[in-house]
Amino acid sequence: MSASMAGTRGSEFAMQNGPDPALPLLEVRGISKSFGAVRALQEVDFTLRAGEIHALLGENGAGKSTLIKVVTGVFPRDAGIVRIGGEEIAPRSAKAAVAAGIATVYQEVNLLPNLSVAQNLFLDRQPMRFGIVREGEMRRRAKALLAEFGLDIDVAAPLGHYSVAIQHVTAIARAVDLSARVLILDEPTASLDRHEVEILFGIMRQLAKRGIGIVFVSHFLDQVYEISDRITVLRNGRLVGEREKASLPRIELIRMMLGRELAETTNARAATSEYEAREVCASFENYGKAGYVVPFDLELRHGEVVGLAGLLGSGRTETARLVFGAERADGGKASVEGASVRLQSPRDGVRHGFGYCPEERKTDGIVAELTVRENIVLALQAKRGLHRPLRRREQDEIARRYVKMLDIRPPDPERPVGLLSGGNQQKVLLARWLATSPRLLVLDEPTRGIDVGAHAEIIRLIRELCDDGLSLLVISSELDEIVTYSDRVVVLRDRAHVEELAGEAVDVGNILAAIAADGAGVAHEERA
C-alpha cells in the first residue's frame, strides 16, 4: 500500500522537478511467473532509480531473463505489478513496453539476420517521407549511430554477414537509440571483447548521466564492479537482496548468488617438460583453407589444454572448425594418434573421437525441441550408428549422470532443452560430447553466458578431463580464463597463427603483446 502511495507521489514530484535520482524510475513488486510446474519467479521485487546502473545477477536459470521478459510484456505475468515513473503499466508486447519507455536488448534476440544493418536499427521506426522509407537518410543515421560505438561497417549489408559481436553491438545501439527512460541489457557483453566493452561502458555512463536508468545483466563480476551502482541478486526465482555495490564485497556477492562458498580453482598447469613427454593425440601440418584460415601447424597432446586467443574475427572459430572437420581443408595433412586421416565432415571428426562445442549455441548447438536427454545422447548415438540404438534405460542413465555431474538445472532430463536458461544449455552441449568419451574436445567459448559457480566448475572440469588424458582445444575471449587452464596458447591474428606460448610464457601480458603486435611491430623487429 505504502509503496504504491510513494510511487504516485514520486511521479508527481518527478513531473514537476525533473528526474530525482533517489526516486524509483522502474518499480517491480511481487512478480511471479510459472512455466507449468517450474516456478521461474516468485514474488520478486526490483527497483531501478533514474540515472543508475543497476546490475541484476544470479546463477544460470535464476530467472533474470524471465524477469526482464515479464516486465517488458513478452511473457504474461501470473502476479505482481510494474510501475514506471510511478504509473502502473501492463505492456502486452515488446512494442507496448517501448511505448512505455523501456528499451531492451534481450539475451537471445539477436536481430534479424536477413535484414540490412540499417533496417535492423530502424525497424518499425524508419525515417519516412510520403509513406516511403528514406533509405539514404536511414543509412546515414545508422552509420552515425554505429560510429558512436566505434563501428564503421557497410550498413546496407545484411546483418547476418557480420560476426556475433557486431550483431550484438547493433542490438545495443538500437536499444540505446530508442531513447527510452529505462534501458535493459541482458548479457550484452557476453560476446564482446575488451575494446568493445569499454566503448559500451562509456555510452552507458553517458546515458546514466542523462537520467536514464539502466539494468545490466552479466556473469562477468569484474564488469559488474566496474560499471554498476547497485546490485540485485536472484536465486531460484526468488529475490535474495539488493545492495549498494560499494558495500558488497565480492565473496559476499558470490555467496548471495550461489547460496554457498565458491571452491577455489587451482591452477594446475603442467610443467613444460612434463607435457612435452606426452603422446601426440592429433596433429595438423600446413593445414588450412584458402580464404578461411592461413595454413597452420598444430599439435595436440593427450592430457593438455591448448588455448586459442585472438581478437574477434581473428580466425579462432575457423581453426576450430577445420580441426574438427566441420570445414574441409584444401591443403595439408591431419593425423590422429600418428595415423594420417581425412577430415571431410563432422562425422569424420566424431569417428576419430573428436568433439566440438560450437560458439553459437542456438543455431549450431542445441536441438531446441528435443529433450535434455535426447540432446545429450545425440552425438553418442550418431557415433554408434543407426543399428545400435541406445536403449531407453541407457539413455536415462547417461542423461541422469551428466545432469548430476554438470549440475544442469532444472534436473529434469525430459525437459525440452530450448526451455533451459542459456548457461544450462551450454552445459547440455558439454554433456553431449563428454558422453562420447572423446580423445579431443574443441570448445568454442565454453563459458560464454555461464555463471560464476558453473564457470568455476567448467574450468575444474576442463582440468579434470585433461588429467584423464583428454586433449582439449579451447577458445575464449577471457584471457584470464585461458591463462588459468591452458598448457599452451596459440595466438591468432588476421586468420593466421602468429605465436605459440608454452609453459611459463603463458600469461596475459604475453598474449596481449602477441595480439597487439601489428605490421609496425614486425617491421621494427626486422630492422633490429
Partner: protein
C-alpha cells in the same frame, strides 16, 4: 516411444470419436458389421479400406515432414507404381510385380532425396518436379488408357481378406508396425527428429543429415508405391490419370492433424495414421449423408478447421477463445 504410444493424441482421438458420432447420426447403420464372402462388410470397414492409401502415404510423409521437408509427388508416384503393377500383373508373378512397383517408388524417392539432400533444392519445388513429370511417366506407361488386369494374386491384394480383415487394411497395419519398429527400434527416429529440429546442429553432432533426408524420401516413395499398387488392385486397373490425384494434400493434412509440425522435429506415426482415418471418416460420412456434392468441400473445410482449432496450443476450451479474443482486441 512417445511416437508409438500417443501421449498427446487426445485431441485427435476426441475428434475421431465426434466425427464417428456424427456419422452415426447421418447414417443409422454406420456401425453395422456383417461377414460377406469371408470379408467383414460395413461402413466402418469402408472407412478403414478407403483410408488405406492416405494412411500409407502419411506414414512416409510424416517422416519427410519431420525432417522439415514435404513431398508433393506421392500422388504421382502412386500412379507410376499402379501403372507398372497393372502392366505386369497378367504376365508376371506377384513377387515380380511388387518388386517392380516398389522399386519404382524407391527410385522416385531417391530422385526427390537427391534433389533435396544433395542439390539442396527446396523440398516443395524439388518434389513439384516429380509431381508434374511423374504423372506423365505413369501415363506414358499406360499410354493414357486404364490398364486392366485379372491376375487373381494382385486382385486379392486389393479385395481379399485375412481373417475377415480386408488385405489393404492388414497391409497398412503391417506397414505401420514395420515403420514404427524400424524408426523407433533403431536410432533413426531420434536422428530424424534431430535433423528436422536443427539440421546444422545435428550435422555438427555427427549425424549424417543428408543420409537421413535421403532415406526418408526413399521410404516415402516406397510407401507411396505400395499405396499405388493397392489402389490399382482395388479397381483391378491402373488409372494413371486419376490415381492418387490430389492425395498428397490429404496426406499432408493427415500428418498435420496428427500433430506433427510442418517445421519438422517431433513426429508421431500413429497419430499421422489416425489423422488419415479422421479424414476418411469425414469423407465417408459425407458420402453417406446424402447431401448434394456441392457441399462436400465446405463440410471438409469446416471439419478440418475445427479439428485444427481443437489442437491449437492457444486454445484449451472455450475459456481459451474468450481470453484470446480479449487479448487481440486490446
Amino acid at each position: 516411444m512417445t511416437a508409438l504410444l500417443p501421449r498427446r493424441g487426445l485431441a485427435q482421438i476426441l475428434a475421431l470419436i465426434v466425427i464417428l458420432a456424427v456419422d452415426r447420426v447421418v447414417s443409422p447403420q454406420f456401425f453395422d458389421l456383417r461377414l460377406q464372402d469371408g470379408r467383414l462388410f460395413g461402413s466402418l470397414i469402408d472407412v478403414l479400406n478407403r483410408g488405406t492409401p492416405v494412411a500409407l502415404l502419411s506414414l512416409g510423409m510424416v517422416l519427410v515432414i519431420a525432417t522439415r521437408g514435404i513431398d508433393l509427388s506421392v500422388g504421382a508416384v502412386m500412379a507410376i507404381a499402379g501403372a507398372i503393377a497393372a502392366s505386369l500383373a497378367d504376365t508376371h508373378s506377384l513377387a515380380v510385380v511388387l518388386a517392380a512397383a516398389l522399386g519404382a517408388g524407391l527410385i522416385c524417392g531417391l530422385w526427390n532425396g537427391f534433389l533435396v539432400a544433395v542439390l539442396g533444392m527446396q523440398p516443395i519445388v524439388a518434389t513439384l518436379i516429380l509431381m508434374v513429370a511423374g504423372r506423365g511417366i505413369a501415363q506414358l506407361i499406360t499410354e493414357g488408357r486404364i490398364v486392366t488386369f485379372s491376375s487373381p494374386d494382385l486382385v486379392w491384394l486389393g479385395n481379399g481378406a485375412i481373417l475377415g480383415v480386408p488385405v489393404p487394411v492388414a497391409i497398412a497395419l503391417g506397414m505401420l508396425i514395420l515403420t514404427g519398429a524400424v524408426v523407433r527400434g533403431s536410432a533413426l527416429g531420434l536422428l530424424i527428429e534431430a535433423t528436422g529440429g536443427n539440421a546444422r546442429a545435428s550435422e555438427l553432432a555427427g549425424v549424417g543429415t543428408r543420409a537421413m533426408i535421403l532415406s526418408v524420401y526413399v521410404w516415402c516413395g516406397v510407401c507411396a508405391a505400395l499405396a499405388g499398387v493397392i489402389a490399382a488392385a482395388d479397381i483391378m486397373g491402373a488409372d494413371a490419370n486419376n490415381a492418387g490425384l490430389w492425395l498428397e494434400l490429404d496426406a499432408i493434412l493427415a500428418v498435420v492433424i496428427g500433430g506433427t509440425s510442418l517445421f519438422g522435429g517431433r513426429f508421431s506415426l500413429v497419430l499421422a495414421v489416425l489423422g488419415a482415418l479422421i479424414i476418411q471418416t469425414m469423407n465417408t460420412g459425407i458420402l453417406l449423408s446424402g447431401y448434394p456434392p456441392e457441399f462436400n468441400l465446405l463440410v471438409k473445410a469446416v471439419v478440418v478447421l475445427t479439428v485444427l482449432l481443437l489442437q491449437s496450443p492457444k486454445l484449451t476450451g472455450f475459456a481459451g477463445i474468450a481470453a484470446r479474443l480479449r487479448r487481440t482486441k486490446a
